[in-house]
């Protein structure tokens, strides 16, 4: 049986990438990106088990021809595919107009950097163990309460290696293994149907025994929901996992130097200005040891770094890939990303790595106890992806929300809609929790924001 040995795969892929660069001699510039991601995905749907495992291997090549960049990609890899993909990339370059913003592919930068935590135990985590975890997780959930009727549980193990070589001397390789598990379930009573979600992701071997019961607890609580029955401007306490996707969507766009240059960022022209309440500090930490998006380099082979975006409420910096950095004659912050699990299919684009919000002193209970009147939003929100990331306008639906009165969390609410402007809201952050949670967004605590429109 073929096993996934990251070190051995890293050597093989690096050799192929180097070979690709040799083949590109005679071209103005070239970059070969190769990735191999082994995915083990085990799911259970109320008793039905579905499992898959396989390796997605492939290469993406960027070439510069007559000053223009061309990109082509193919799945699988051999010498013939390197040739044909390179030819295709040249054709693409020929069809493109000259981009005056493009200078050249990145040069090597010498900053020391490393991959995130590597847990040897994860490399040996088998499908039997994944299935065992999912069995426990779903049994815990169903045993928690009879009203839990349906569930979808998942355990995923991703082992990835990517390597980049370019004709300007970059030659790097990054590795990472991540284990994740979660459950989304439905509780039913008297025709009322409510959902609960809980998930856990880590670079270390973790067990998921509490994930099932926590999700069940979340859904069961919601069965007592009552309609809010009005529309008001009020304070919203966002649980860490509820706010995380909204944070990423907004910062991914607004902190991108390319968007700033092209006029699509709310943060354009606001450097060193106050953009948030002074308790708000956020960094992009590509070197967060336990972060899920921590690699030695970014997707162009630039060392991953730590960049302060907002410090004590003041806008401090933007995120750069080499394209946006070279345009400003500065160095990349190592924020070129390509989308998983088949990154070879994508051209690099500016993206956040691990967003880390500086935590406060109180846990979630501490946050709600400070609120006279407001709502608490837990689990996940819907519609974050439909926000206007340029202006910051958002309107999301929270299926799991509670009323807060005089510092006490009262009854759960029927779905409420929360609307506002994210960037204006940064100035309305009144408290930050101590309960930072690792997700694919980064490491984010719960956050209290005043003056949002809530209706339901």
């Amino acid at each position: 049986m073929m096993t996934f040995d990251p070190d051995q795969i890293a050597d093989e892929l690096s050799t192929l990438a180097e070979l690709g660069i040799k083949k590109a001699e005679g071209l103005e510039e070239a970059e070969v990106f190769i990735s191999n991601v082994d995915t083990l995905n085990v799911q259970v749907y109320t008793g039905i088990v579905e499992a898959r495992q396989g390796m997605a291997l492939g290469l993406g090549i960027r070439v510069v021809h007559a000053g223009k960049v061309g990109f082509a990609a193919t799945s699988g890899i051999d010498k013939a595919k390197i040739d044909s993909t390179m030819q295709e990339a040249i054709q693409v370059a020929k069809a493109r107009p000259l981009d005056p913003k493009f200078k050249h592919l990145p040069d090597p930068i010498s900053i020391s950097s490393k991959d995130g935590i590597t847990d040897k135990q994860l490399l040996e985590f088998s499908e039997e163990e994944a299935l065992k975890e999912i069995e426990v997780l779903s049994e815990e959930a169903l045993a928690y309460d009879k009203r839990v009727k349906a569930l979808n549980g998942v355990v995923v193990l991703n082992k990835g290696v990517f390597t980049i070589a370019n004709s300007r001397g970059i030659s790097t390789c990054s590795k990472g293994t991540i284990l994740g598990g979660g459950v989304y379930l439905t509780a039913m009573e008297n025709g009322k149907q409510k959902t609960g979600l809980e998930q856990l992701e880590s670079r270390r071997l973790v067990d998921f025994c509490e994930v099932g019961s926590k999700a069940a607890q979340r859904a069961i609580k919601m069965l007592d929901s009552k309609p809010l029955g009005k529309s008001l401007r009020t304070t919203v306490v966002w649980e860490n996992i509820a706010i995380s996707p909204l944070l990423r969507g907004m910062f991914n766009t607004a902190s991108s130097a390319q968007n700033v240059q092209e006029g699509r960022s709310y943060f354009k022209g606001k450097l060193n200005q106050k953009v948030a309440d002074e308790i708000f500090t956020i960094i992009d930490d590509g070197q967060l040891h336990e972060g899920l998006s921590t690699f030695k380099t970014d997707a162009e082979g630039i060392p991953s770094q730590t960049t302060t975006l907002i410090e004590d409420g003041v806008l401090k910096g933007y995120l750069y890939d080499s394209y946006s950095a070279l345009y400003e004659k500065r160095e990349s912050t190592g924020n070129a990303g390509r989308r998983w699990p088949e990154p070879f299919l994508f051209t690099p684009a500016v993206s956040t790595s691990n967003l880390v919000v500086k935590p406060g002193k109180n846990d979630l209970d501490g946050l709600t106890s400070q609120v006279d009147e407001g709502i608490l939003v837990t689990d996940f929100i819907m519609g974050a992806g439909h926000s206007n990331v340029v202006t910051g306008e958002f309107s999301v639906v929270a299926p799991n929300a509670y009323l807060i009165k005089n510092g006490e969390v009262k009854h759960p609410l029927e779905s409420v809609t929360i609307a506002g402007n994210f960037f204006h809201s940064l100035k309305n952050v009144t408290e930050i929790g101590s309960d930072s949670k690792i997700t694919d967004v980064g490491k984010i605590p719960s956050i209290t924001i005043k003056d949002l429109t809530v209706s339901g």
Partner: protein, 477 residues
């Protein structure tokens, strides 16, 4: 990779699986060529050329399934994938509380099935397609006003899908999808207004030679509509009778109703439609169909002759004059629920096993002309297309129509800015009062369906214009 070689490889997977003693082996290959061009105004921003080739093996063993895949086209890789799939299925069988059975298939033998088109995208250069994009942008500029930005995209997908199983099926067919779309943003003072248009489906590039879908027409519409919206008023909040345009109705059929009929949700008990078979859920004017092969020339859509379990796609009436008549199935859910196969087992590519997905989902047309529908609408809102929204597992939804008109006594009075429709799909279905005669189905490369991490899967959605009473509009401060 020649196709015959591909069948040799798939055959090897079948043999390997049979030797291991599994109940059913399904082996398939996906070979896709993908091109994407994106422009901002007349500046070409990105051009992508992708070739995705891989093999996937699905096995049924002791009441469980296992799936594995490989991006290497060698006998060794296929053999290893099959062994891995077997190993996973064996481990899964130990914990599966509900056993699954693929039932008995009717093995099909059809090779090299394809649509006949005049201008297959494979035969046209990137430069040709780039020019199409630039023509679209040019038209938008010409017909727009106070334009602040323009984004235009072209995408295509074509290739070959091969399928074999241990029952003897041997199928290959050639998927095809082209898509051209544009988004225009106009700005006047503090007022922002957008306009968009696009067309896609299983066609050659001759689609964009037809009068309605010329790049000039598509670009011109987007520019014109953005300009019109600069003058538009906000939609009044409250309950109104509505006329929902074809694409908007299609999105509702797919997002808020279709997903609830997917039998994996039904079997697991997640769907509110579980146990409701035969119930009257909608009015007599509410009929929803899911289909693989349409009258492309007349109705457009995405051409899907077989699903990824080698099942011939059926024309399935899921809602018949308001009554729930069918769920959508893969082989195992159909067998589990004792239903006929509907051909809804689909995978986006070799990375994934097939799961229950929709094909082309649409409301059936009625007998009204557009004029009659407007007259019956009387006073209300004409809501057109959608740029997205949210449909929940409990049937509630919130969609933003891209454009709209306030209508009084059957006459368009003034254009509307963003129009938000909200409510519950079951109420919506009950409130359908009629439908127009025409049937239009839209499919797109960029805006496919997402489920279980598989996005964007090409689907078709559409229908006629739907006349619906008591639709909740507004809802945002």
């Amino acid at each position: 990779m020649m196709m015959n070689n591909m069948f040799d490889l798939l055959e090897h997977a079948i043999m390997t699986g049979e030797k291991l003693g599994v109940k059913l082996v399904e082996a398939r290959s996906d070979d896709f060529s993908i091109r994407e061009i994106s422009a901002e105004r007349e500046e070409i921003k990105d051009v992508k050329a992708i070739r995705q080739v891989g093999i996937g093996v699905n096995v049924f063993h002791e009441g469980a399934t296992g799936y594995s895949f490989a991006t290497e086209s060698s006998k060794k890789a296929v053999e290893e994938a099959t062994k891995r799939a077997f190993k996973i299925s064996k481990a899964s069988a130990k914990i599966a509380k509900v056993k699954v059975d693929p039932g008995q298939g009717k093995p099909q033998r059809q090779k090299e099935l394809k649509l006949s088109v005049n201008k297959h995208p494979e035969d046209f250069s990137i430069t040709f397609k780039k020019d199409m994009v630039l023509r679209t942008v040019e038209a938008a500029k010409e017909h727009g006003k106070n334009i602040s930005s323009i984004a235009c995209r072209y995408g295509e997908l074509y290739g070959e899908k091969c399928f074999m199983n241990s029952e003897g099926a041997q199928i290959s067919w050639q998927p095809l999808l082209v898509d051209l779309r544009i988004y225009v943003l106009s700005k006047l003072g503090n007022v922002l207004a957008d306009g968009s248009d696009g067309m896609g489906g299983s066609f050659g590039l001759e689609l964009f030679d037809t009068k309605e879908y010329l790049p000039e027409e598509i670009g011109g519409n987007a520019g014109k509509w953005a300009a019109e919206k600069l003058e538009a008023k906000p939609a009044p909040a409250g309950k109104y009778r509505a006329l929902c345009e074809n694409r908007l109705g299609g999105v509702l059929a797919h997002e808020s109703f279709g997903h609830l009929t997917e039998s994996d949700f039904v079997v697991s008990g997640m769907s509110p439609l579980a146990g409701k078979m035969g119930e009257q859920l909608g009015s007599e004017h509410a009929t929803i169909i899911d289909e693989g092969i349409l009258q492309m020339k007349r109705n457009h859509g995405f051409w899907l002759p077989f699903d990824d379990q080698g099942v011939k796609t059926a024309k399935t009436t899921i809602l018949d004059r308001g009554k729930l008549t069918h769920y959508l199935h893969d082989r195992k859910t159909a067998t589990f629920m004792d239903s006929s196969f509907t051909g809804n087992a689909r995978a986006i590519n070799y990375n994934f096993p097939p799961i229950v997905r929709m094909k082309n989902t649409y409301f059936s047309p009625g007998n009204l002309s557009f004029e009659e529908a407007m007259e019956q609408l009387g006073t209300g809102i004409y809501a057109i297309r959608t740029a997205g929204g949210q449909a929940n597992a409990d049937g509630t939804f919130m969609f933003k129509a891209v454009r709209g008109y306030y209508v009084e006594h059957g006459e368009k009075k003034y254009p509307l800015r963003e129009v938000t429709l909200a409510g519950s799909i079951l109420n919506f279905l009950k409130n359908i009062e009629g439908a127009t005669k025409e049937l239009f189905i839209y499919s797109s490369y960029f805006g496919g369906c997402g489920k279980g991490g598989q996005y964007p899967l090409p689907v078709g959605l559409g229908g006629p214009h739907l006349l619906v009473r008591e639709v909740q509009f507004g809802g945002e401060k």
